[in-house]
Symmetry: C2
Subunit: 315 residues, 2 copies
Protein backbone atom coordinates (compact mmCIF):
# COMPACT_ATOMS: atom_id res chain seq x y z
CA UNK A 1 0.00 0.00 0.00
CA UNK A 2 1.33 3.43 -0.93
CA UNK A 3 0.11 6.58 0.72
CA UNK A 4 -1.13 9.30 -1.62
CA UNK A 5 1.62 11.71 -2.58
CA UNK A 6 1.21 14.85 -0.48
CA UNK A 7 1.24 18.21 -2.26
CA UNK A 8 4.78 19.55 -2.31
CA UNK A 9 5.75 22.58 -0.24
CA UNK A 10 7.26 25.85 -1.43
CA UNK A 11 8.09 29.20 0.08
CA UNK A 12 6.21 32.19 -1.34
CA UNK A 13 7.41 35.69 -0.53
CA UNK A 14 5.17 38.68 -1.10
CA UNK A 15 7.68 41.54 -1.42
CA UNK A 16 5.83 44.84 -1.00
CA UNK A 17 6.98 48.44 -0.79
CA UNK A 18 6.80 48.53 3.01
CA UNK A 19 6.57 44.90 4.06
CA UNK A 20 8.04 41.59 2.98
CA UNK A 21 5.83 38.66 3.93
CA UNK A 22 7.33 35.17 3.64
CA UNK A 23 5.11 32.11 3.93
CA UNK A 24 5.39 28.34 3.77
CA UNK A 25 2.78 27.22 1.27
CA UNK A 26 1.26 23.87 0.32
CA UNK A 27 -1.14 24.10 -2.60
CA UNK A 28 -3.55 26.90 -1.78
CA UNK A 29 -2.85 26.71 1.94
CA UNK A 30 -0.48 28.96 3.84
CA UNK A 31 0.95 26.64 6.51
CA UNK A 32 3.09 29.20 8.33
CA UNK A 33 3.55 32.92 8.00
CA UNK A 34 7.16 34.01 8.59
CA UNK A 35 7.93 37.26 10.36
CA UNK A 36 7.15 40.30 8.23
CA UNK A 37 9.97 42.80 7.73
CA UNK A 38 10.43 46.13 5.98
CA UNK A 39 12.69 46.59 2.94
CA UNK A 40 12.91 50.37 3.54
CA UNK A 41 16.08 51.58 5.22
CA UNK A 42 17.89 48.33 4.49
CA UNK A 43 20.35 47.67 1.68
CA UNK A 44 19.45 45.02 -0.87
CA UNK A 45 22.20 42.85 0.65
CA UNK A 46 20.69 43.17 4.13
CA UNK A 47 17.22 42.33 2.80
CA UNK A 48 18.61 39.29 0.96
CA UNK A 49 20.19 38.10 4.25
CA UNK A 50 16.86 38.55 6.02
CA UNK A 51 15.01 36.65 3.28
CA UNK A 52 17.53 33.78 3.47
CA UNK A 53 17.14 33.57 7.24
CA UNK A 54 13.36 33.61 6.94
CA UNK A 55 13.32 30.86 4.29
CA UNK A 56 15.56 28.64 6.45
CA UNK A 57 13.33 29.28 9.47
CA UNK A 58 10.14 28.41 7.55
CA UNK A 59 11.70 25.10 6.36
CA UNK A 60 13.17 24.08 9.72
CA UNK A 61 10.67 21.27 10.28
CA UNK A 62 10.87 19.93 6.74
CA UNK A 63 13.35 17.30 5.63
CA UNK A 64 14.98 19.80 3.26
CA UNK A 65 14.73 23.32 1.92
CA UNK A 66 12.02 23.81 -0.74
CA UNK A 67 11.73 25.93 -3.91
CA UNK A 68 11.19 29.64 -3.40
CA UNK A 69 9.10 32.15 -5.36
CA UNK A 70 9.29 35.90 -4.77
CA UNK A 71 6.72 38.41 -6.09
CA UNK A 72 8.02 41.97 -6.38
CA UNK A 73 6.50 45.33 -7.31
CA UNK A 74 8.47 46.68 -10.24
CA UNK A 75 10.44 45.73 -13.27
CA UNK A 76 11.51 42.12 -12.86
CA UNK A 77 13.16 39.79 -15.35
CA UNK A 78 11.42 36.58 -14.42
CA UNK A 79 13.32 34.62 -17.07
CA UNK A 80 16.77 35.38 -15.64
CA UNK A 81 15.69 36.07 -12.08
CA UNK A 82 17.00 39.64 -12.02
CA UNK A 83 15.37 42.69 -10.42
CA UNK A 84 15.90 45.66 -12.76
CA UNK A 85 14.31 48.09 -10.33
CA UNK A 86 11.49 48.28 -7.78
CA UNK A 87 8.67 50.81 -7.76
CA UNK A 88 9.00 52.14 -4.22
CA UNK A 89 12.19 50.61 -2.82
CA UNK A 90 15.61 52.16 -3.47
CA UNK A 91 18.79 50.17 -4.03
CA UNK A 92 17.38 47.35 -6.15
CA UNK A 93 19.02 48.06 -9.49
CA UNK A 94 20.08 45.00 -11.50
CA UNK A 95 20.14 42.58 -8.55
CA UNK A 96 20.44 38.90 -9.62
CA UNK A 97 18.25 37.71 -6.77
CA UNK A 98 17.62 34.20 -8.12
CA UNK A 99 21.32 33.46 -8.58
CA UNK A 100 22.32 34.84 -5.16
CA UNK A 101 19.64 33.06 -3.15
CA UNK A 102 19.64 29.78 -5.05
CA UNK A 103 23.43 29.48 -4.62
CA UNK A 104 23.12 30.09 -0.92
CA UNK A 105 20.12 27.81 -0.39
CA UNK A 106 20.67 25.08 -2.98
CA UNK A 107 17.04 25.25 -4.20
CA UNK A 108 15.44 26.97 -7.21
CA UNK A 109 14.46 30.59 -6.55
CA UNK A 110 12.21 32.32 -9.06
CA UNK A 111 11.09 35.95 -9.30
CA UNK A 112 7.86 37.32 -10.66
CA UNK A 113 6.15 40.68 -10.98
CA UNK A 114 3.65 40.93 -8.11
CA UNK A 115 0.60 41.36 -10.36
CA UNK A 116 1.58 38.24 -12.31
CA UNK A 117 2.13 36.29 -9.09
CA UNK A 118 -1.31 37.23 -7.77
CA UNK A 119 -2.93 36.32 -11.09
CA UNK A 120 -1.19 32.97 -11.11
CA UNK A 121 -2.44 32.29 -7.59
CA UNK A 122 -6.02 33.17 -8.56
CA UNK A 123 -5.69 31.01 -11.67
CA UNK A 124 -4.28 27.97 -9.84
CA UNK A 125 -6.53 28.07 -6.78
CA UNK A 126 -8.85 31.08 -6.80
CA UNK A 127 -11.45 32.92 -8.84
CA UNK A 128 -9.89 32.04 -12.22
CA UNK A 129 -9.31 28.35 -11.48
CA UNK A 130 -9.50 26.15 -14.58
CA UNK A 131 -9.97 29.10 -16.96
CA UNK A 132 -8.12 28.78 -20.24
CA UNK A 133 -7.92 32.54 -20.69
CA UNK A 134 -8.10 34.82 -17.67
CA UNK A 135 -7.54 38.53 -17.16
CA UNK A 136 -6.81 39.74 -13.63
CA UNK A 137 -7.02 43.38 -12.58
CA UNK A 138 -6.13 44.83 -9.19
CA UNK A 139 -7.80 48.07 -8.16
CA UNK A 140 -5.94 50.03 -5.53
CA UNK A 141 -3.77 53.13 -5.41
CA UNK A 142 -2.35 51.76 -8.61
CA UNK A 143 -4.33 49.71 -11.12
CA UNK A 144 -2.38 46.65 -12.22
CA UNK A 145 -3.16 43.60 -14.24
CA UNK A 146 -1.95 40.28 -15.55
CA UNK A 147 -2.94 37.78 -18.21
CA UNK A 148 -3.18 34.00 -18.27
CA UNK A 149 -3.54 32.96 -21.91
CA UNK A 150 -3.93 29.38 -23.11
CA UNK A 151 -3.17 28.23 -19.57
CA UNK A 152 0.10 30.13 -19.23
CA UNK A 153 1.18 33.42 -17.71
CA UNK A 154 1.56 35.77 -20.69
CA UNK A 155 4.33 38.28 -20.01
CA UNK A 156 4.83 40.01 -23.38
CA UNK A 157 7.98 40.68 -25.36
CA UNK A 158 9.65 42.93 -22.75
CA UNK A 159 7.87 41.21 -19.84
CA UNK A 160 5.63 44.28 -19.59
CA UNK A 161 2.22 42.96 -20.67
CA UNK A 162 -0.98 43.24 -18.64
CA UNK A 163 -0.67 46.91 -17.66
CA UNK A 164 -4.43 47.37 -17.75
CA UNK A 165 -4.32 50.45 -15.53
CA UNK A 166 -2.44 52.36 -18.23
CA UNK A 167 -4.90 51.66 -21.04
CA UNK A 168 -7.02 54.62 -22.11
CA UNK A 169 -10.80 54.95 -22.07
CA UNK A 170 -10.78 58.43 -23.67
CA UNK A 171 -8.07 59.57 -26.07
CA UNK A 172 -8.56 63.17 -24.90
CA UNK A 173 -9.23 62.38 -21.25
CA UNK A 174 -7.40 62.62 -17.92
CA UNK A 175 -3.61 62.46 -18.12
CA UNK A 176 -1.90 59.28 -16.92
CA UNK A 177 1.64 58.79 -15.61
CA UNK A 178 3.12 57.83 -19.01
CA UNK A 179 1.48 60.60 -21.02
CA UNK A 180 -1.53 58.48 -21.92
CA UNK A 181 -4.61 60.64 -21.89
CA UNK A 182 -7.67 58.79 -20.62
CA UNK A 183 -5.51 56.39 -18.58
CA UNK A 184 -7.84 54.11 -16.57
CA UNK A 185 -5.85 54.57 -13.36
CA UNK A 186 -6.55 58.32 -13.51
CA UNK A 187 -10.27 57.46 -13.19
CA UNK A 188 -10.51 54.41 -10.94
CA UNK A 189 -7.29 54.52 -8.88
CA UNK A 190 -7.97 55.16 -5.15
CA UNK A 191 -6.77 58.77 -5.22
CA UNK A 192 -8.91 59.63 -8.24
CA UNK A 193 -12.00 58.03 -6.76
CA UNK A 194 -11.55 60.02 -3.55
CA UNK A 195 -10.87 63.31 -5.33
CA UNK A 196 -13.86 62.90 -7.63
CA UNK A 197 -16.11 61.89 -4.74
CA UNK A 198 -15.08 64.92 -2.67
CA UNK A 199 -15.84 67.16 -5.65
CA UNK A 200 -19.22 65.47 -6.16
CA UNK A 201 -20.14 65.90 -2.46
CA UNK A 202 -19.08 69.58 -2.58
CA UNK A 203 -21.16 70.12 -5.70
CA UNK A 204 -24.18 68.40 -4.18
CA UNK A 205 -23.80 70.45 -1.00
CA UNK A 206 -23.76 67.26 1.10
CA UNK A 207 -21.02 66.57 3.66
CA UNK A 208 -18.63 63.83 2.54
CA UNK A 209 -18.54 60.67 4.72
CA UNK A 210 -14.97 61.54 5.77
CA UNK A 211 -12.18 63.96 5.03
CA UNK A 212 -10.32 61.40 2.90
CA UNK A 213 -13.44 59.92 1.33
CA UNK A 214 -11.73 56.58 0.65
CA UNK A 215 -13.36 53.85 -1.45
CA UNK A 216 -14.20 52.08 1.84
CA UNK A 217 -15.94 55.24 3.13
CA UNK A 218 -17.84 55.48 -0.14
CA UNK A 219 -18.93 51.87 0.16
CA UNK A 220 -20.26 52.59 3.65
CA UNK A 221 -22.10 55.72 2.50
CA UNK A 222 -23.60 53.92 -0.51
CA UNK A 223 -24.85 51.07 1.71
CA UNK A 224 -26.68 53.71 3.74
CA UNK A 225 -28.32 54.93 0.54
CA UNK A 226 -26.31 58.10 -0.09
CA UNK A 227 -27.12 59.07 -3.71
CA UNK A 228 -23.73 60.74 -4.29
CA UNK A 229 -21.85 57.60 -3.28
CA UNK A 230 -24.20 55.36 -5.26
CA UNK A 231 -23.62 57.52 -8.32
CA UNK A 232 -19.84 57.41 -7.88
CA UNK A 233 -19.92 53.59 -7.90
CA UNK A 234 -22.09 53.65 -11.02
CA UNK A 235 -19.61 55.95 -12.76
CA UNK A 236 -16.63 53.76 -11.74
CA UNK A 237 -18.54 50.71 -12.98
CA UNK A 238 -19.28 52.37 -16.34
CA UNK A 239 -15.62 53.27 -16.77
CA UNK A 240 -14.34 49.86 -15.76
CA UNK A 241 -16.87 48.27 -18.13
CA UNK A 242 -15.52 50.39 -20.99
CA UNK A 243 -11.94 49.36 -20.21
CA UNK A 244 -12.95 45.71 -19.84
CA UNK A 245 -14.79 45.85 -23.18
CA UNK A 246 -11.51 46.73 -24.87
CA UNK A 247 -9.78 43.82 -23.19
CA UNK A 248 -12.64 41.52 -24.18
CA UNK A 249 -12.67 42.59 -27.85
CA UNK A 250 -8.91 42.02 -27.95
CA UNK A 251 -8.55 38.82 -25.91
CA UNK A 252 -11.99 37.16 -25.64
CA UNK A 253 -11.19 35.66 -22.21
CA UNK A 254 -13.31 33.27 -20.12
CA UNK A 255 -13.06 35.33 -16.97
CA UNK A 256 -12.03 38.73 -15.62
CA UNK A 257 -10.96 38.59 -11.98
CA UNK A 258 -11.20 41.87 -10.08
CA UNK A 259 -9.09 42.24 -6.92
CA UNK A 260 -7.82 45.00 -4.66
CA UNK A 261 -9.57 47.31 -2.23
CA UNK A 262 -12.01 48.86 -4.70
CA UNK A 263 -13.37 45.40 -5.55
CA UNK A 264 -14.71 45.27 -1.98
CA UNK A 265 -17.53 47.58 -3.13
CA UNK A 266 -19.00 44.28 -4.36
CA UNK A 267 -22.64 44.50 -5.41
CA UNK A 268 -22.45 48.31 -5.46
CA UNK A 269 -19.94 48.04 -8.30
CA UNK A 270 -20.07 44.70 -10.17
CA UNK A 271 -23.59 45.04 -11.68
CA UNK A 272 -22.57 48.39 -13.20
CA UNK A 273 -19.40 46.86 -14.64
CA UNK A 274 -21.44 44.03 -16.17
CA UNK A 275 -24.06 46.37 -17.57
CA UNK A 276 -21.46 48.65 -19.15
CA UNK A 277 -19.47 45.74 -20.55
CA UNK A 278 -22.49 43.94 -22.00
CA UNK A 279 -23.76 47.12 -23.65
CA UNK A 280 -20.35 47.41 -25.41
CA UNK A 281 -19.71 43.87 -26.63
CA UNK A 282 -21.34 41.19 -28.75
CA UNK A 283 -23.51 38.64 -26.91
CA UNK A 284 -21.46 35.86 -28.54
CA UNK A 285 -18.53 37.02 -26.46
CA UNK A 286 -20.13 38.45 -23.32
CA UNK A 287 -22.62 35.60 -22.77
CA UNK A 288 -19.96 33.22 -21.55
CA UNK A 289 -17.70 35.78 -19.89
CA UNK A 290 -17.56 35.83 -16.08
CA UNK A 291 -16.58 38.94 -14.12
CA UNK A 292 -15.77 37.84 -10.59
CA UNK A 293 -14.09 39.18 -7.46
CA UNK A 294 -10.72 37.72 -6.49
CA UNK A 295 -11.01 35.09 -3.77
CA UNK A 296 -7.51 34.62 -2.33
CA UNK A 297 -7.26 38.18 -0.99
CA UNK A 298 -3.88 39.18 0.43
CA UNK A 299 -2.59 35.61 0.17
CA UNK A 300 -2.82 35.46 -3.64
CA UNK A 301 0.74 36.74 -4.13
CA UNK A 302 2.44 34.27 -1.80
CA UNK A 303 0.32 31.36 -3.05
CA UNK A 304 0.98 32.30 -6.67
CA UNK A 305 4.73 32.67 -6.13
CA UNK A 306 4.93 29.33 -4.40
CA UNK A 307 3.00 27.68 -7.25
CA UNK A 308 5.27 29.32 -9.83
CA UNK A 309 8.35 28.10 -7.93
CA UNK A 310 7.04 24.53 -7.96
CA UNK A 311 6.10 24.78 -11.65
CA UNK A 312 9.62 26.01 -12.46
CA UNK A 313 11.24 23.31 -10.31
CA UNK A 314 9.17 20.53 -11.94
CA UNK A 315 8.67 21.62 -15.55
Amino acid sequence: MTLPNPLPHAVGIDFGGTSIKPALVQGSTILTHGATFNPQGRSAAQTLDAMEESIRFLCKDLSSLVPVGIGLPGFVDSVHGVVHGLSNVAGWTEVPVSKILSERLGVPVILENDANAMAYGEWMYGAAAHARNAVCITLGTGVGGALILEGKLYRGSQLAAGELGHTSIDLNGRMGPYGNKGCLEAYVGNHSISARALAAYAQAGIPAPSEECTPLDLTGAAREGCPVALHIWQTIGDELGAAFANIVWILNPDVIVVGGGVAKAGDLLFPHIEHSLKSRTSPVISRQLRIVPATLGNDAGAIGCAALALAAANP
Copy 2:
Protein backbone atom coordinates in the same frame (compact mmCIF):
# COMPACT_ATOMS: atom_id res chain seq x y z
CA MET B 1 23.34 12.44 -53.32
CA THR B 2 19.91 13.56 -52.12
CA LEU B 3 18.22 16.60 -53.49
CA PRO B 4 17.07 19.13 -50.88
CA ASN B 5 13.50 18.51 -49.79
CA PRO B 6 11.28 20.94 -51.69
CA LEU B 7 8.77 23.02 -49.71
CA PRO B 8 5.42 21.21 -49.66
CA HIS B 9 2.46 22.53 -51.60
CA ALA B 10 -0.97 23.47 -50.28
CA VAL B 11 -4.07 25.08 -51.66
CA GLY B 12 -5.06 28.39 -50.04
CA ILE B 13 -8.55 29.79 -50.71
CA ASP B 14 -9.34 33.41 -49.94
CA PHE B 15 -13.13 33.36 -49.53
CA GLY B 16 -14.43 36.94 -49.74
CA GLY B 17 -17.90 38.45 -49.78
CA THR B 18 -17.94 38.81 -53.57
CA SER B 19 -15.07 36.66 -54.80
CA ILE B 20 -13.52 33.34 -53.91
CA LYS B 21 -9.87 33.15 -54.96
CA PRO B 22 -8.20 29.73 -54.88
CA ALA B 23 -4.43 29.43 -55.30
CA LEU B 24 -1.77 26.75 -55.31
CA VAL B 25 0.85 27.87 -52.82
CA GLN B 26 4.40 26.79 -52.02
CA GLY B 27 5.87 28.60 -49.01
CA SER B 28 5.30 32.29 -49.65
CA THR B 29 4.89 31.83 -53.41
CA ILE B 30 1.60 31.59 -55.23
CA LEU B 31 2.37 29.15 -58.05
CA THR B 32 -1.03 29.27 -59.78
CA HIS B 33 -4.14 31.34 -59.28
CA GLY B 34 -7.32 29.37 -59.90
CA ALA B 35 -10.33 30.99 -61.51
CA THR B 36 -12.08 33.46 -59.23
CA PHE B 37 -15.80 32.91 -58.66
CA ASN B 38 -18.59 34.64 -56.75
CA PRO B 39 -20.35 33.09 -53.74
CA GLN B 40 -23.35 35.43 -54.13
CA GLY B 41 -26.38 33.89 -55.79
CA ARG B 42 -25.10 30.35 -55.28
CA SER B 43 -26.12 27.95 -52.57
CA ALA B 44 -23.47 26.77 -50.14
CA ALA B 45 -23.67 23.34 -51.83
CA GLN B 46 -22.98 24.87 -55.26
CA THR B 47 -20.05 26.87 -53.89
CA LEU B 48 -18.63 23.77 -52.23
CA ASP B 49 -18.83 21.96 -55.59
CA ALA B 50 -17.04 24.85 -57.29
CA MET B 51 -14.34 24.86 -54.63
CA GLU B 52 -13.82 21.12 -54.98
CA GLU B 53 -13.50 21.45 -58.75
CA SER B 54 -11.05 24.31 -58.38
CA ILE B 55 -8.89 22.42 -55.87
CA ARG B 56 -8.73 19.38 -58.20
CA PHE B 57 -7.81 21.65 -61.12
CA LEU B 58 -5.02 23.39 -59.18
CA CYS B 59 -3.53 20.01 -58.19
CA LYS B 60 -3.79 18.38 -61.62
CA ASP B 61 -0.03 18.47 -62.30
CA LEU B 62 0.94 17.27 -58.82
CA SER B 63 1.34 13.59 -57.89
CA SER B 64 -1.56 13.90 -55.44
CA LEU B 65 -4.02 16.32 -53.92
CA VAL B 66 -2.56 18.54 -51.19
CA PRO B 67 -3.90 20.00 -47.90
CA VAL B 68 -6.36 22.85 -48.22
CA GLY B 69 -6.84 25.97 -46.10
CA ILE B 70 -9.83 28.30 -46.50
CA GLY B 71 -10.02 31.79 -45.00
CA LEU B 72 -13.56 33.14 -44.56
CA PRO B 73 -15.10 36.42 -43.40
CA GLY B 74 -17.33 35.67 -40.45
CA PHE B 75 -17.81 33.41 -37.52
CA VAL B 76 -15.81 30.29 -38.15
CA ASP B 77 -15.05 27.39 -35.80
CA SER B 78 -11.51 26.63 -36.87
CA VAL B 79 -11.21 23.81 -34.34
CA HIS B 80 -14.07 21.76 -35.82
CA GLY B 81 -13.97 23.19 -39.34
CA VAL B 82 -17.52 24.54 -39.24
CA VAL B 83 -18.80 27.84 -40.64
CA HIS B 84 -21.33 29.26 -38.15
CA GLY B 85 -22.19 32.18 -40.44
CA LEU B 86 -20.57 34.56 -42.92
CA SER B 87 -20.62 38.35 -42.75
CA ASN B 88 -21.94 39.12 -46.22
CA VAL B 89 -22.89 35.79 -47.77
CA ALA B 90 -26.28 34.19 -47.09
CA GLY B 91 -26.86 30.47 -46.70
CA TRP B 92 -23.73 29.57 -44.70
CA THR B 93 -25.26 28.64 -41.35
CA GLU B 94 -23.60 25.72 -39.55
CA VAL B 95 -21.89 24.27 -42.61
CA PRO B 96 -19.28 21.59 -41.73
CA VAL B 97 -17.01 22.60 -44.61
CA SER B 98 -13.92 20.72 -43.43
CA LYS B 99 -15.76 17.44 -43.06
CA ILE B 100 -17.52 17.74 -46.43
CA LEU B 101 -14.49 18.69 -48.48
CA SER B 102 -11.95 16.47 -46.71
CA GLU B 103 -14.22 13.43 -47.25
CA ARG B 104 -14.57 14.24 -50.94
CA LEU B 105 -10.90 15.04 -51.51
CA GLY B 106 -9.14 12.73 -49.05
CA VAL B 107 -6.87 15.51 -47.77
CA PRO B 108 -7.02 17.70 -44.63
CA VAL B 109 -9.14 20.82 -45.10
CA ILE B 110 -8.92 23.55 -42.45
CA LEU B 111 -10.93 26.74 -42.01
CA GLU B 112 -9.84 30.01 -40.52
CA ASN B 113 -11.27 33.47 -39.97
CA ASP B 114 -9.87 35.67 -42.78
CA ALA B 115 -8.17 38.16 -40.45
CA ASN B 116 -6.40 35.28 -38.68
CA ALA B 117 -5.36 33.76 -42.01
CA MET B 118 -3.85 37.04 -43.20
CA ALA B 119 -2.04 37.54 -39.89
CA TYR B 120 -0.63 34.03 -40.08
CA GLY B 121 0.62 34.70 -43.61
CA GLU B 122 2.32 37.94 -42.52
CA TRP B 123 3.79 36.15 -39.52
CA MET B 124 5.13 33.19 -41.51
CA TYR B 125 6.47 35.09 -44.50
CA GLY B 126 5.70 38.82 -44.31
CA ALA B 127 6.03 41.89 -42.12
CA ALA B 128 5.77 40.00 -38.83
CA ALA B 129 8.17 37.18 -39.75
CA HIS B 130 10.02 35.76 -36.74
CA ALA B 131 8.13 37.92 -34.23
CA ARG B 132 7.27 36.16 -30.98
CA ASN B 133 4.27 38.43 -30.39
CA ALA B 134 2.60 40.18 -33.30
CA VAL B 135 -0.59 42.18 -33.65
CA CYS B 136 -2.07 42.57 -37.15
CA ILE B 137 -4.71 45.13 -38.02
CA THR B 138 -6.48 45.53 -41.36
CA LEU B 139 -7.88 48.95 -42.22
CA GLY B 140 -10.64 48.90 -44.80
CA THR B 141 -14.41 49.27 -44.82
CA GLY B 142 -14.21 47.16 -41.70
CA VAL B 143 -11.32 47.22 -39.27
CA GLY B 144 -10.21 43.72 -38.35
CA GLY B 145 -7.35 42.26 -36.44
CA ALA B 146 -5.59 39.14 -35.29
CA LEU B 147 -3.00 38.15 -32.73
CA ILE B 148 0.02 35.88 -32.82
CA LEU B 149 1.13 35.32 -29.23
CA GLU B 150 4.12 33.23 -28.19
CA GLY B 151 4.46 32.08 -31.77
CA LYS B 152 0.87 30.83 -32.12
CA LEU B 153 -2.36 32.21 -33.51
CA TYR B 154 -4.33 33.31 -30.45
CA ARG B 155 -8.07 32.86 -31.04
CA GLY B 156 -9.62 33.45 -27.62
CA SER B 157 -12.16 31.41 -25.68
CA GLN B 158 -15.00 31.71 -28.22
CA LEU B 159 -12.60 32.08 -31.18
CA ALA B 160 -13.47 35.79 -31.23
CA ALA B 161 -10.23 37.47 -30.16
CA GLY B 162 -8.41 40.18 -32.10
CA GLU B 163 -11.43 42.36 -32.91
CA LEU B 164 -9.34 45.51 -32.73
CA GLY B 165 -11.80 47.52 -34.83
CA HIS B 166 -14.41 47.20 -32.08
CA THR B 167 -12.22 48.49 -29.26
CA SER B 168 -13.10 51.98 -28.03
CA ILE B 169 -10.91 55.06 -27.96
CA ASP B 170 -13.52 57.23 -26.22
CA LEU B 171 -16.09 55.80 -23.81
CA ASN B 172 -18.55 58.55 -24.83
CA GLY B 173 -17.60 58.71 -28.51
CA ARG B 174 -19.05 57.61 -31.86
CA MET B 175 -21.36 54.62 -31.72
CA GLY B 176 -20.06 51.32 -33.11
CA PRO B 177 -22.02 48.34 -34.49
CA TYR B 178 -22.18 46.45 -31.16
CA GLY B 179 -23.17 49.42 -29.01
CA ASN B 180 -19.60 50.29 -28.14
CA LYS B 181 -19.25 54.05 -28.03
CA GLY B 182 -15.88 55.23 -29.33
CA CYS B 183 -15.51 52.11 -31.51
CA LEU B 184 -12.29 52.50 -33.55
CA GLU B 185 -14.00 51.43 -36.80
CA ALA B 186 -16.40 54.39 -36.46
CA TYR B 187 -13.33 56.67 -36.73
CA VAL B 188 -10.90 54.98 -39.12
CA GLY B 189 -13.11 52.70 -41.24
CA ASN B 190 -13.24 53.78 -44.90
CA HIS B 191 -16.77 55.21 -44.71
CA SER B 192 -15.97 57.27 -41.60
CA ILE B 193 -12.77 58.63 -43.10
CA SER B 194 -14.64 59.71 -46.23
CA ALA B 195 -17.54 61.25 -44.31
CA ARG B 196 -15.25 63.15 -41.97
CA ALA B 197 -13.10 64.34 -44.87
CA LEU B 198 -16.12 65.61 -46.82
CA ALA B 199 -17.26 67.50 -43.72
CA ALA B 200 -13.78 68.98 -43.23
CA TYR B 201 -13.59 70.12 -46.88
CA ALA B 202 -17.06 71.67 -46.62
CA GLN B 203 -16.08 73.48 -43.44
CA ALA B 204 -12.84 74.73 -44.98
CA GLY B 205 -14.71 75.89 -48.10
CA ILE B 206 -12.35 73.88 -50.29
CA PRO B 207 -13.66 71.45 -52.95
CA ALA B 208 -13.07 67.82 -52.01
CA PRO B 209 -10.79 65.80 -54.33
CA SER B 210 -13.78 63.69 -55.42
CA GLU B 211 -17.41 63.09 -54.62
CA GLU B 212 -16.63 59.93 -52.63
CA CYS B 213 -13.45 61.31 -51.07
CA THR B 214 -12.01 57.81 -50.55
CA PRO B 215 -8.84 57.20 -48.54
CA LEU B 216 -7.01 56.83 -51.89
CA ASP B 217 -8.31 60.26 -53.02
CA LEU B 218 -7.18 61.73 -49.70
CA THR B 219 -3.74 60.24 -50.14
CA GLY B 220 -3.48 61.86 -53.56
CA ALA B 221 -4.66 65.23 -52.25
CA ALA B 222 -2.27 65.08 -49.29
CA ARG B 223 0.67 64.29 -51.58
CA GLU B 224 -0.18 67.47 -53.46
CA GLY B 225 0.02 69.38 -50.17
CA CYS B 226 -3.70 69.87 -49.47
CA PRO B 227 -3.86 70.96 -45.79
CA VAL B 228 -7.31 69.44 -45.23
CA ALA B 229 -6.15 66.01 -46.41
CA LEU B 230 -2.88 66.27 -44.47
CA HIS B 231 -4.82 67.10 -41.33
CA ILE B 232 -7.19 64.16 -41.85
CA TRP B 233 -4.25 61.76 -41.99
CA GLN B 234 -2.82 63.31 -38.84
CA THR B 235 -6.15 62.83 -37.05
CA ILE B 236 -6.43 59.21 -38.22
CA GLY B 237 -2.84 58.61 -37.08
CA ASP B 238 -3.55 60.10 -33.63
CA GLU B 239 -6.61 57.91 -33.25
CA LEU B 240 -4.86 54.76 -34.43
CA GLY B 241 -1.96 55.54 -32.07
CA ALA B 242 -4.39 55.77 -29.15
CA ALA B 243 -5.94 52.41 -30.05
CA PHE B 244 -2.51 50.82 -30.56
CA ALA B 245 -1.35 52.17 -27.18
CA ASN B 246 -4.11 50.17 -25.51
CA ILE B 247 -3.05 47.04 -27.35
CA VAL B 248 0.57 47.68 -26.40
CA TRP B 249 -0.15 48.23 -22.69
CA ILE B 250 -2.15 45.00 -22.69
CA LEU B 251 0.01 42.74 -24.87
CA ASN B 252 3.50 44.30 -25.14
CA PRO B 253 4.06 42.86 -28.65
CA ASP B 254 7.20 43.02 -30.82
CA VAL B 255 5.42 44.32 -33.87
CA ILE B 256 2.13 45.79 -35.09
CA VAL B 257 1.46 45.05 -38.77
CA VAL B 258 -0.91 47.44 -40.51
CA GLY B 259 -2.61 46.22 -43.68
CA GLY B 260 -5.58 47.12 -45.87
CA GLY B 261 -6.28 50.05 -48.14
CA VAL B 262 -5.84 52.82 -45.57
CA ALA B 263 -2.30 51.59 -44.83
CA LYS B 264 -1.39 52.66 -48.37
CA ALA B 265 -1.31 56.26 -47.07
CA GLY B 266 2.18 55.18 -45.94
CA ASP B 267 4.39 58.06 -44.80
CA LEU B 268 1.36 60.36 -44.60
CA LEU B 269 0.00 58.15 -41.82
CA PHE B 270 2.65 56.02 -40.11
CA PRO B 271 4.71 58.85 -38.51
CA HIS B 272 1.53 60.17 -36.87
CA ILE B 273 0.68 56.70 -35.56
CA GLU B 274 4.19 56.36 -34.12
CA HIS B 275 4.13 59.82 -32.57
CA SER B 276 0.74 59.25 -30.96
CA LEU B 277 1.69 55.79 -29.71
CA LYS B 278 5.06 56.86 -28.27
CA SER B 279 3.48 59.80 -26.47
CA ARG B 280 1.11 57.32 -24.78
CA THR B 281 3.40 54.48 -23.72
CA SER B 282 6.54 53.89 -21.67
CA PRO B 283 9.85 53.98 -23.57
CA VAL B 284 10.68 50.54 -22.10
CA ILE B 285 7.86 49.15 -24.20
CA SER B 286 7.75 51.43 -27.24
CA ARG B 287 11.53 51.51 -27.86
CA GLN B 288 11.58 48.00 -29.26
CA LEU B 289 8.14 48.02 -30.85
CA ARG B 290 7.93 48.10 -34.64
CA ILE B 291 4.88 49.47 -36.49
CA VAL B 292 5.13 48.29 -40.09
CA PRO B 293 2.97 48.02 -43.19
CA ALA B 294 1.86 44.54 -44.28
CA THR B 295 4.01 43.18 -47.11
CA LEU B 296 2.04 40.30 -48.65
CA GLY B 297 -0.85 42.48 -49.81
CA ASN B 298 -3.84 40.64 -51.24
CA ASP B 299 -1.96 37.34 -51.19
CA ALA B 300 -1.61 37.23 -47.40
CA GLY B 301 -4.89 35.35 -46.92
CA ALA B 302 -4.20 32.55 -49.40
CA ILE B 303 -0.57 32.21 -48.25
CA GLY B 304 -1.64 32.16 -44.60
CA CYS B 305 -4.37 29.57 -45.21
CA ALA B 306 -2.02 27.32 -47.10
CA ALA B 307 0.56 27.56 -44.31
CA LEU B 308 -2.10 26.80 -41.69
CA ALA B 309 -3.24 23.77 -43.71
CA LEU B 310 0.31 22.44 -43.82
CA ALA B 311 0.85 23.12 -40.11
CA ALA B 312 -2.37 21.22 -39.31
CA ALA B 313 -1.43 18.33 -41.62
CA ASN B 314 2.05 18.02 -40.08
CA PRO B 315 1.64 18.96 -36.41
